[in-house]
């Protein structure tokens, strides 16, 4: 992070709500009489007590006391929002002039902000269960142990587009069962329990991943194909590492025509080299040939048994690149998803999997990062019972403080100590600690984030969170994990309310690698990037798609977003950046020359590819497997960039017409079929908003490759919005969006705030959203100003006390 990070003057005052400065309205605010008149003239025809369109009546709203009548605040917020976006009255109905729009919006917002500053409503989220990613990270930071949360816990439900929403994160008997199993496994792993049974774990390379060139930064230079994985070895002991090679469709091991050298490495040290191929009998080549014994069993000896010390280690298996071809000069080849490839036993030899089994003859390790973390003391062999218990108490207090994320008292430690005693009586000191650790890991104060009301606070009153509670909010927001020692110490000292300290902590946390969680979890969900892993483009429609491309697209956007945040760019640069990150595979897909090799590097890009709208990941997750969907793309833009999801479609929607429908005598294009669909007025009401946005991206096919025609018909990427605005192509769409930068920034703020709070953004958050956005506007919407704005906002810093 640069020094620029510390933003002075983000317009929020701690704890007393927001300073009501709204800088986007230059027009003088409207008077209450003018507001009333405007409502009567333009709105009340539909939104009256009788018809209540959209469940809203504006007939009797008290325009003289905006923000002061609690029951009316929600309606006023809605009005302000619609006016600001010029979204109402609907197109075709009489509308006020622009100045009147701006004046009334400004007057409403000023009044609402002032009322909120005087009597803030920060919301009242319930206790907040950790989702499984947070759980995994908490285990990592509590016990220096890497676990695979997908194996331990079921996935979490999402709401408001995110999987960290307190209201949604429930506990079921199944989940508790998993927590208990996880606690048992984790405590065994952390301490290196010698009773851990041997297990078999298989790491598989996807079949449709082309294993050409160097596959990752974790693999040696001059290598081709293969796999590098991090694997946890729970104990010191013997392990068996076994490699399997990929088979062609007829079960022939691929590439046996010539000798291949395979290298197996542990933490980058070579532990074994194998040579396979070129020395056995192969079946004659014809369509029905059955594999010979050799062709089925040539990989059977690819196995080593060796002594490994406990810990998480990097295992890799890769082929030595004998071809001596310059990395990147690729020969023509069939697509990996094609029939031609699946049957080709002469394709290059490829790794199918690495299987690791063990431990055999295990021993408890003397020293591992996890044991170092847990055993802050260790009783001597001859220690008295009292000394042993004192040490256990010390260990458990230190674990409980970090696990519960607050200072702990004897009342917290005592129940853990009694678990310790039970375990100790059965199996000794370490068994006792292990049993108590299991208790910590299923304790509701570990599994839930608990925020308490201070003593004496009136029910329903807004109050500032305690410093340690604020520390947890910060660490779960920026790191998706528990606070580290430094943050917890600052909070325990009571210094976190100091603005300079708070901002220094935020900036330290963002510079820490743990903030990758923000990239992965916030951006991954906001932009739907997480759906990339499940995208399944149809090989018939997109023969070019393979796992390499999937990985490359995912990585491109992740690197791009990360650079945006780490360089503290303007949020608007997400749309207008003139660079991206590419490797050869992706560059070839995009038609960008002179990018060689599998590693990613920053590459300048021109108009159409610039920014998120030109990135393969976004374009793929908003397509169907076998075609583009202008509607899905348009919806993505409306929902995620403009914060204006269209009203949901009515029930019993007629489907798209048949492709051979119409009197042109030829198949209709997708765009033409959609245009027929839109002749129905019911459908048109929403599609006139979504489709034009999506049409402008039609030059990108369903996996984001550039195209100029679809089945021979030229692509038409020109669009017109209901209000008559015309634009064309990705650049046109980008300019259109940048022309509404306030709406875009406000949407980013709302999404980020939803994620930061773990709850839906409600009408009473309107003043905070405006304050954060306008504060950030003064800093060109830099990520630092948005994030600090959120951290210092009323809903982040405060909560409303519980009502019985």
């Amino acid at each position: 992070m640069t020094a620029r990070w510390i933003v002075a003057g983000v317009g929020i005052t701690l704890l007393v709500g927001v300073s009501g400065q709204v800088n986007h309205a230059q027009t003088p605010p409207a008077t209450s009489a003018a507001s009333r008149a405007l409502l009567d003239q333009y709105c009340v025809a539909c939104h009256n007590d009788r018809t209540r369109q959209a469940g809203l009546s504006l007939q009797t709203l008290d325009a003289e006391h905006v923000g002061q009548v609690a029951d009316e605040v929600e309606a006023w917020e809605k009005v302000a929002r619609k006016l600001r976006a010029r979204a109402m009255p609907p197109p075709g109905r009489p509308r006020p002039d622009d100045a009147a729009y701006a004046a009334m919006a400004a007057s409403l917002e000023t009044a609402l902000d002032a009322a909120a500053a005087a009597a803030p409503n920060p919301g009242q989220p319930p206790i907040h269960r950790l989702n499984r990613v947070e759980y995994r990270n908490a285990i990592r930071d509590l016990l220096a142990l890497e676990v695979d949360e997908r194996e331990l816990l079921p996935p979490d439900e999402s709401g408001y587009g995110f999987d960290n929403i307190a209201d949604i994160l429930a506990v079921s008997p199944v989940l508790l069962d998993r927590y208990m199993v996880a606690a048992e496994k984790i405590s065994q792993l952390a301490l290196g329990d010698p009773s851990i049974r041997p297990a078999v774990e298989k790491h598989t390379v996807p079949y449709t991943l082309w294993q050409d060139g160097r596959m990752s930064e974790q693999l040696p230079f001059g290598s081709r194909g293969g796999l590098a994985v991090r694997h946890h070895f729970p104990l010191d002991g013997e392990y068996v590492i076994k490699l399997a090679l990929q088979r062609a469709y007829g079960n022939h091991i691929r590439g046996l025509g010539e000798a291949n050298d395979i290298e197996l490495r542990l933490d980058r040290e070579r532990i074994q080299q194998f040579t396979v191929g070129g020395d056995g009998e192969r079946a004659p080549w014809d369509a029905v040939s059955r594999p010979t014994f050799y062709e089925q069993t040539a990989d059977e000896g690819l196995e080593v048994r060796l002594e490994v010390n406990a810990g998480t280690r990097l295992i890799s298996a890769t082929f030595l690149d004998r071809g001596a071809v310059v990395e990147g000069v690729l020969e023509p080849r069939p697509a990996v998803s094609s029939l031609a490839y699946s049957r080709d036993r002469n394709a290059a030899m490829a790794l199918e999997s690495i299987t690791i089994s063990g431990p055999f003859n295990p021993r408890t390790p003397d020293k591992t990062p996890s044991r170092d973390r847990v055993f802050v003391c260790y009783p001597a062999a001859a220690a008295s019972e009292a000394d042993t218990e004192a040490c256990a108490g010390e260990i458990l207090s230190s674990l409980a403080r970090r696990a519960f994320r607050r200072p702990v008292a004897q009342t917290d430690v005592e129940p853990l100590l009694s678990l310790f005693r039970e375990g100790r009586d059965e199996g000794g000191f370490e068994t006792g600690i292990q049993f108590a650790l299991r208790g910590v890991l299923i304790d509701p104060e570990f599994l839930f984030r608990v925020e308490r009301d201070p003593a004496g606070v009136a029910p329903g009153a807004a109050f500032a969170l305690s410093d340690v509670e604020l520390a947890s909010r910060l660490s779960f927001f920026l790191w998706s994990t528990i606070p580290d020692d430094e943050l917890l110490e600052v909070a325990e000292r009571g210094d976190l309310r100091d603005r300079t300290t708070l901002e220094a902590q935020v900036s330290r946390m963002l510079a820490d690698p743990r903030s990758d969680a923000l990239i992965e979890n916030f951006f991954g969900q906001w932009l739907l990037l997480r759906n990339m892993s499940a995208a399944s483009p149809d090989p018939d429609a997109f023969l070019d798609f393979d796992e390499n491309l999937r990985e490359a697209m995912t990585r491109e956007t992740a690197l791009f977003v990360e650079s945006q945040v780490r360089d503290d760019r303007s949020a608007l640069d997400l749309l207008r950046a003139d660079y991206t990150y590419l490797n050869q595979r992706l560059a070839r897909h995009y038609g960008i020359p002179h990018v060689y090799g599998n590693h990613f590097r920053r590459v300048p890009v021109d108009g159409a590819r610039g920014g998120l709208l030109g990135q393969g990941s976004i374009l793929t997750v908003t397509s169907y497997p076998n075609r583009t969907s202008p509607t899905k793309r348009g919806l993505w833009v409306l929902e995620n960039l403009l914060g204006a999801p269209p009203p949901p479609p009515p029930p019993d929607v007629p489907g798209l017409p048949d492709a051979d429908h119409g009197d042109t005598g030829r198949s209709l294009s997708m765009r033409e079929r959609m245009e027929v669909h839109r002749t129905s007025p019911v459908c048109a009401s929403c599609h006139v908003l979504m489709d034009p946005l999506g049409f402008s991206l039609e030059n990108f096919d369903g996996i984001g490759a550039w195209r100029t025609d679809e089945d021979g018909a030229p692509i038409n990427a020109s669009s017109t919005l209901p209000d008559g605005t015309s634009f064309e192509g990705p650049s046109g769409l980008r300019d259109l969006l940048l022309g509404q930068e306030e709406r875009f920034a406000e949407t980013v703020t709302e999404k980020l705030l939803t994620y930061a709070l773990g709850r839906g953004v409600e009408y009473y958050d309107g003043p905070a959203v405006r304050a954060i956005t306008s504060g950030a506007a003064a800093n060109d919407y830099r990520w630092s100003s948005l994030i600090v704005g959120i951290v210092e906002s009323t809903p982040f810093q405060m909560r409303r006390s519980r009502e019985p």
């Binding site: 996935p155 439900e157 408001y160 587009g161 199993v181 208790g439 308490r452």
Partner: protein, 450 residues
Amino acid sequence: MIVTRKHLPRRTFLRGLGVTLALPMLDSMVPAFGGAQVRAAEAVRRLGVVYVPNGMFMPNWTPEVEGGPLEVTQTLQPLAQFKDQMLMVSGLCSEEGIARPGEGAGDHARAAGAFLTGVHPKKTEGHDIRAGVSMDQIAARVLGQETQLASLELSLESSERAGSCDPGYSCAYANTLCWSSATTPLPMASDPRAVFERLFGTSGTTDPAAWLKARQHDRSLLDMVTAKVARLSGELGPRDRVKLNEYLEAVRDVERRIQMAERQTTRELPAMDQPVGVPEKFEEHAKLMFDLQVLAYQADLTRVITFMMGHETSNRAYPDIGVPDAHHALSHHGGDKILIERLKKVDSHLTAMFAHYVDRLASTPDGNGTLLDSVMILYGSGLSDGNRHDHHDLPALLVGGGAGQLAGGRHMRVAKDTPNTNLFLTMLDKLGVAIETMGDSNGRLDTLSV
């Protein structure tokens, strides 16, 4: 895959056990482990629900002939050999899945939410999700008294997906069919390894003694947690207590299971290798999940299983059978002949997976017959024609002997717009679970066992 090292001896479950068994703790207000007397020596009755998402291509499903013998339509082909154990009910409707004025889209979320509950799901993305107690959970309250697990909820699709599901509806609606209360949707497990551990614990074996020993250790942990929750409860408000109560009920559920297991230590179980995770291929995953269901019934760990072959709006493609299209998109075929052909393939493929299950049940001895004789499985969907989001005339097929309560080999058609909850009430009757009404029910079907 299941490796049966020894067959279960033929035996009658629970005969002579005559003990007091605990009610599943569905209501935290009643004291734990109060109990109802369980009638011993009755034939074991089991309920299954197997759900197909996104509706079906109905012309290939519904037989033209009513009455018997059951005509094996194209979609039913894989099940042909079991047709005498199949009873098709046509004409049922899930009225509560239909949009109310102003609700707009969301037919898939509503279809799933209303399917087993007969209650109109509240349109919301947030904390106030609400439907009703589902049929399987009503059955579990009674059938679950005699087993360690009251019910199992399984799916072939993980509930992970970024972004919204059906617009305006929490993903919870489309991801599950099971509701233990009007506000508690139950998550579905899709990882076979996790399902195995749920059934048999982490010891890697199906030996019940190993499981029990490990769990008895848990008792002190559970006691500690219970005390902690009580302490926290006093400090927190009503909305937090809802969460804590969920947690506490889960704790009691585990305690109940331990108690139950202590009475069942003599049980012999078939051995199975612990699955390593989710298989890559759909077919392997489906068969493995079905195998686990057979095992759960066989070991009598539960008598109620609900299984979704995909969540509503599932966009799974089926490349292995030559269908590259996303299922949900395909279900909106718009009359396109090529797409319809593919949709038919998907329907048949799902039936074929189900047929594997039925075959396994039919070949697993149970009591004096097979598991297929004792089970009553509903195979169907919450939509009929997915293309139009039609909630009427749903596909519904009852499979199994229902412990002598079902007369199969027939196709019956009920009066138009009969709520599917009428079928459920009748099924519950036959399972020995007597309730007056549920959801939108307005009667019973009287011809299931004719």
